[in-house]
């Protein structure tokens, strides 16, 4: 589903002493099927931006197009459209409430009037996507699981609605490195398998570099940079000004390039860890043969 923002602004607490401009004239275009990394410091407007995508917030000014639905300051997103847009909040395990894991995951599908047998099937699929065993987990209380498992159950609760757009607000916050990787890999897999449009909000440039095919860098409620990851990483100075860093792979490439003669420089498009490693290995073995 294509997502378009046209000069969208959002003001919190209109008419109170706490009035605050959270988004300012944001115009972005997210093509269907892309994996977009949204990066920015705390308070840069990332969370406000993504809440507009599923109609939880309405723009104070501007227009948002979600597929063929249009949201304006006066026109709300219809309830049924919400099903197509899954939003996983920060610390989603804080929203668990049911007695069993299966019931909690089924909450979303049942809310959209899915027949119970079908919902059960969806629950099974969703739990498997996030790497949990359905038979083992379904009758357990979500409150007795480990932190990482709770997070997975909560994400499964959104996946079970089978959205076309998946939005994740720092899905790996507070997890250990292994847990982070497992969750992101699972998300990346269904992103490709079901050709979802995925928006990943993150602090980590490494995560963004690894999975995203487009990046949006935000600061002070505005979009500062937008484009393919290598284009964005090329603007290292701007990123540093925003107190963000380029991924280590990118800084390694630029350090190597400084030493290498012009014709042997590494291309900036091999910023993914594995790609960089295989690229470098290939070069080394090339030289060995010569």
């Amino acid at each position: 589903m294509q997502i378009t923002f046209e000069e969208v602004s959002h003001v919190y607490g209109v008419g109170t002493p706490f009035e605050r401009l959270a988004l300012q004239d944001v115009s972005i275009n997210i093509p269907s099927g892309s994996f977009v990394g949204i990066i920015g410091q705390t308070g840069s407007g990332k969370s406000t931006l993504i809440q507009h995508v599923n109609g939880l917030l309405q723009p104070t000014k501007g227009t948002i197009r979600l597929g063929d639905v249009t949201v304006t300051p006066t026109r709300k997103l219809p309830h049924e459209s919400r099903r197509n847009i899954g939003l996983v909040f920060q610390y989603p395990e804080h929203q668990l409430f049911e007695e069993t894991v299966a019931k909690d995951v089924a909450f979303g599908p049942l809310n959209f009037d899915m027949p119970p047998e079908m919902a059960e099937l969806r629950v099974r699929e969703a739990l498997e996507i996030v790497g949990l065993d359905y038979q083992e987990m379904k009758d357990r209380s979500p409150f007795l699981l480990s932190g990482g498992q709770m997070r997975r159950v909560a994400i499964a609760g959104v996946l079970a609605m089978q959205p076309k757009v998946l939005i994740l607000d720092e899905p790996t916050a507070g997890l250990d490195p292994a847990g982070r990787k497992a969750i992101l890999e699972a998300i990346y897999r269904i992103h490709r398998e079901q050709s979802l449009t995925t928006l990943l909000v993150t602090h980590s440039m490494e995560e963004a570099a690894r999975y995203a095919d487009r990046l949006i860098v935000m600061a002070g409620g505005k979009v500062m940079l937008e484009g393919k990851p290598d284009e964005v990483f090329a603007q290292a100075d701007t990123l540093r000004e925003l107190a963000l860093d380029v991924p280590e792979t990118v800084s390694l490439i630029s350090q190597l390039n400084r030493k290498l003669p012009e014709e042997q420089r590494l291309p900036s498009s091999v910023y993914r860890e594995e790609e960089l490693i295989s690229h470098l290995l290939a070069r080394i073995s090339d030289r060995g043969e010569r």
Partner: protein, 265 residues
């Protein structure tokens, strides 16, 4: 949606009211409550209304914001007005239809009661609006100090109160977040009959309770980790001092007391 409810909310500022001592503000509110019940005619109420408006102006907060933030209270006021108009009988009959009638006493009672509640709520909401929770607790603790000698756990009461006040906005935010998260999963809180709606609250209430307990535990742990062990022998970073502002509040209180005493019938 929930950000607009501001009971217990503190709005930082540097106005006269912000800088006055919390003790004088609290004492004044007690006196004001007595005055509101002493007032019993048009003149005394007019004086109190004028005084309240003046106090709001002294706080440099917009009256519209305060009124809006007290919305739940207005619903209550409206309810009492309706009850009084319909139930209290006596005096001249304004309107009669079968057993149903609106009479003079009902209308005057409705006006007086709603004025009393509104004035009280307005003035006391100014206390929390202009006093930071820390100042509020310290003021309360100092005011209740004498009761400590007869075994009242003054410090603990003050601490409980300040924690409660401190966490109202936090829990509001939390509620807002949970509502949003469940809405994103298709929950609908505005349709269906009463029982259905009550059931719809479960996905909000349970996570909210769990997070409140979690927060309480974390807070207790954090306080213990920093060596908190109750009020005995505890010193303060900032101590309260009275200034000319508190003198003028005392003066205003005396004047108000005399004026109301003189004009009431």
């Amino acid at each position: 949606m929930l950000q607009n409810i501001a009971i217990g909310q503190y709005v930082p500022g540097t106005s006269f009211l912000h800088r006055a001592d919390p003790r004088s503000k609290m004492l004044f509110i007690i006196l004001f409550a007595i005055l509101v019940f002493l007032a019993n005619n048009v003149i005394t109420y007019a004086i109190l209304i004028a005084f309240t408006v003046m106090t709001v102006m002294l706080s440099r907060l917009s009256l519209a914001y305060i009124l809006k933030s007290l919305r739940p209270v207005w619903i209550l006021v409206l309810f009492t007005v309706i009850l009084h108009v319909l139930i209290t009988k006596g005096g001249e009959v304004y309107f009669q239809w079968g057993w149903f009638s609106i009479e003079e006493k009902g209308v005057t009672q409705a006006i007086f009661i709603s004025l009393r509640v509104s004035l009280l709520v307005l003035v006391s909401s100014l206390l929390t609006l202009t006093t930071s929770p820390i100042d509020l607790t310290e003021g309360l603790e100092r005011l209740l100090g004498p009761f400590g000698r007869i075994g009242v756990p003054v410090h603990e009461i003050a601490l409980m109160m300040s924690i409660a006040l401190r966490f109202i906005p936090t829990l509001m935010e939390e509620t807002d977040k949970i509502i949003k998260a469940q809405t994103a999963r298709g929950a609908n809180f505005t349709s269906g009959n009463l029982i259905r709606r009550a059931q719809n609250l479960i996905p909000i209430v349970i996570p909210l309770f769990i997070s409140a307990f979690r927060r309480a535990e974390e807070l207790a742990l954090a306080m213990e980790a920093r060596g908190y062990r109750g009020g005995v022998g505890r010193t303060r970073l900032r101590t309260l001092t009275m200034s000319w502002r508190d003198g003028s509040i005392a003066l205003a209180a005396c004047v108000l007391l005399l004026v109301i005493g003189w004009w009431r019938t």
